[in-house]
């Protein structure tokens, strides 16, 4: 993973509009630390993941240590600690979806994306497929989250069409 991550390329996230955005967010809380999750979200939005330099930058902006920030990042499942495919595909397989055939949906995504394994990005860098726990949309089994978008009621036969609609 670190091969795709060139240290020299990292440029600061919190300049210009993103800095203003962070300042606005910080004004909503009595402590700087409370802006930590939102700040990490901004880094991930801008860089596609949360690299160590991003954690360091957030730490500096919020008067925290990089070690503290890393401790928080690793607690939550949604911050990427490595670069992921262009389309990050999360399939719920918790029991309510599982009884509706969610495992078949996972298999279909693996097959049609060319991803060899869960969590391993396809060779062309386009896809990463993972299984996730309940997405809070159990009545629309199987819900699949692709980057920021939800696709509801996915069945294995819909997978090729869903993939071809992605840019």
């Amino acid at each position: 993973m670190s091969a795709t991550h060139d240290q020299a390329e990292y440029t600061s996230v919190f300049t210009g509009a993103a800095r203003t955005e962070l300042d606005t967010i910080m004004s909503r809380y009595p402590t700087k630390m409370a802006a930590l999750l939102p700040a990490l979200w901004i880094v991930q939005r801008e860089r596609g993941w949360v690299p160590p330099e991003g954690m360091a930058e957030v730490a500096e902006a919020l008067d925290l240590t990089p070690a503290y920030v890393k401790g928080v990042v690793t607690f939550y499942t949604m911050y990427h600690q490595h670069p992921v495919g262009k389309h990050f595909i999360q399939v719920c397989t918790t029991s309510p979806c599982n009884v509706c055939g969610a495992e078949g949906v996972v298999d279909a995504f693996l097959k049609h994306t060319g991803c060899e394994e869960l969590g391993v990005t396809s060779a062309d860098g386009r896809y990463t497929v993972i299984e996730v726990e309940c997405l809070g949309a159990c009545g629309f089994a199987t819900p699949v989250m692709i980057n920021e978008e939800f696709v509801e009621s996915v069945t294995p036969d819909r997978v090729p069409e869903i993939l071809s609609s992605l840019k």
């Binding site: 402590t31 939550y76 949604m78 029991s95 726990e133 309940c134 809070g136 089994a141 989250m145 978008e149």
Partner: protein, 437 residues
């Protein structure tokens, strides 16, 4: 209503009246539907008067524990010179539950209004809505609604022209079921790992940022404007006459092996059997309903017979051998391997344990391992005793009840469906002992 279906005639629409109605989403459409009248009214009352109305309505928390909302609010003392906070729990991650998502998707202003009233009633000038990170669409709607409400002068330092300060902010989580537990939610909002806190101190004494705090579920807060508009007596009158302890309507999320999954708004005390078979359309063709988990994955599993004779309120579900919980109803039919599904639930809890407490960290992991071993055909009868022993060690012994929640489907599963476990164990593969050279 039974979104994505048309409302069923036996539903009672209050919170879900506008589900599916795109025009109810923006502020002007919401105002045309009576929006913000309750807030206007509330800001003209004293906080104590509002708390009294909510108390009299009998409203109880919809997040899982069913604590009376008015009583919870009365623990807060406006005017004590301290900064108070309201947290709205929109973390909705309990498997089977997807009602708060629909409230935020279709009626975001109902939640802004409920939060504003709640904040004012407990003497808080700031409310935070903590939304799980995966809820990108509800989050967009909530952020847009908050923005509109500020622009219209509904929120801010002169809320609705009354000179009172009410702020509502949206805070996005980052993937962790445990952050739905109220003290973990506060830690997460503060920029910490989502580890639950030891109580006491209770949030009303020292909560968010160490200040007196109230935490309420989305559905609880969304019900408050209706109560202020139509009165405590109206709300109290919804429900069965012989049980004044459960009042109002309840949103039920129904999922799994059922004809018409979706959200349904039912009167408290509605017969559960009729609900499953008529309102939700019953079993899929050629199948039979077998096991029901009515209140989200953390409540005891019911047999179909137990479910059919239960009433859909807090007391009715206890009488039926389970709990109302978050009313996330998971239906499992006779085509499923029930033990596999219980194992999958255990895996959920093992994945979501914050790992602070040993009983939970170790217990959820071992429970999952043993159950998966049984599903794979390598289980023994002693495994069932071991599972029950581990479950006992996981119940009532940890900082929060995630640990108990993992034990619940296992214990109720073994008690009520022991035959399913034994059938898998009987099929046990015999591994040949390799010959020693």
């Amino acid at each position: 209503m039974g979104y994505p279906h048309k409302p069923h005639e036996r539903e009672t629409l209050v919170l879900s009246t506008h589900f599916g109605d795109h025009e109810a989403i923006p502020l002007d459409g919401w105002k045309k539907r009576g929006g913000y009248q309750a807030l206007q009214k509330a800001l003209g009352m004293t906080p104590a008067e509002i708390v009294d109305v909510v108390k009299a309505s009998g409203l109880r928390g919809r997040g899982g524990a069913g604590f009376p909302t008015g009583i919870k609010w009365s623990f807060m003392k406006p005017g004590d010179g301290k900064v108070h906070y309201l947290c709205c729990n929109a973390d909705e991650s309990e498997p089977g539950t997807f009602k708060d998502r629909e409230i935020m998707r279709w009626t975001p202003h109902a939640l802004v209004e409920g939060c504003a009233i709640g904040a004012y009633a407990i003497g808080a000038e700031v409310a935070y809505i903590y939304i799980r990170g995966e809820f990108t669409e509800p989050l967009r709607h909530m952020e847009a609604a908050v923005k509109e409400a500020y622009a219209a002068g509904i929120l801010g330092t002169n809320a609705m022209g009354t000179g009172k300060t009410v702020h509502v902010h949206v805070h996005k989580g980052a993937g962790a079921y445990i952050c739905g537990e109220e003290t973990a939610l506060m830690n997460s909002l503060e920029g910490r790992r989502g580890n639950p806190r030891i109580k006491p101190p209770f949030p009303a004494v020292a909560g968010l940022f160490g200040q007196p705090t109230t935490i309420n579920n989305v559905e609880t807060l969304a019900a408050v404007p209706h109560i202020l508009n139509r009165g405590a007596d109206w709300y109290k009158g919804l429900g069965r006459a012989d049980n004044p302890k459960s009042t109002g309507t309840k949103l039920w999320s129904v999922c799994g092996n059922i004809q018409k999954p979706g959200n349904y708004e039912m009167l408290m005390g509605f017969p559960f059997g009729e609900f499953l078979h008529e309102v939700c359309g019953g079993a899929l063709p050629g199948r039979k309903l077998r096991a029901i988990i009515p209140g989200g994955s953390s409540v005891p599993i019911q047999t179909l017979e137990e479910a059919e004779s239960s009433l859909m309120d807090y007391e009715g579900m206890v009488a039926g051998g389970t709990m109302l919980g978050s009313a996330g109803c998971i239906v499992i039919d006779d085509a499923q391997n029930l033990v596999k599904q219980i194992a999958r639930l255990a895996r959920f809890y093992a994945h979501e344990s914050c790992a602070q407490c040993t009983q939970c960290r170790e217990g959820t992991a071992w429970t999952t391992k043993i159950l998966e071993r049984i599903v794979a055909g390598d289980g023994t009868t002693e495994d069932l005793d071991t599972l029950l022993e581990i479950a006992d060690n996981m119940t009532g012994k940890t900082i929060c009840v995630l640990s108990d929640s993992c034990a619940t489907p296992v214990v109720s599963g073994i008690r009520k469906f022991r035959g399913d476990f034994e059938a898998l164990i009987k099929k046990r593969k015999v591994h040949p002992v390799p010959a020693v050279a």
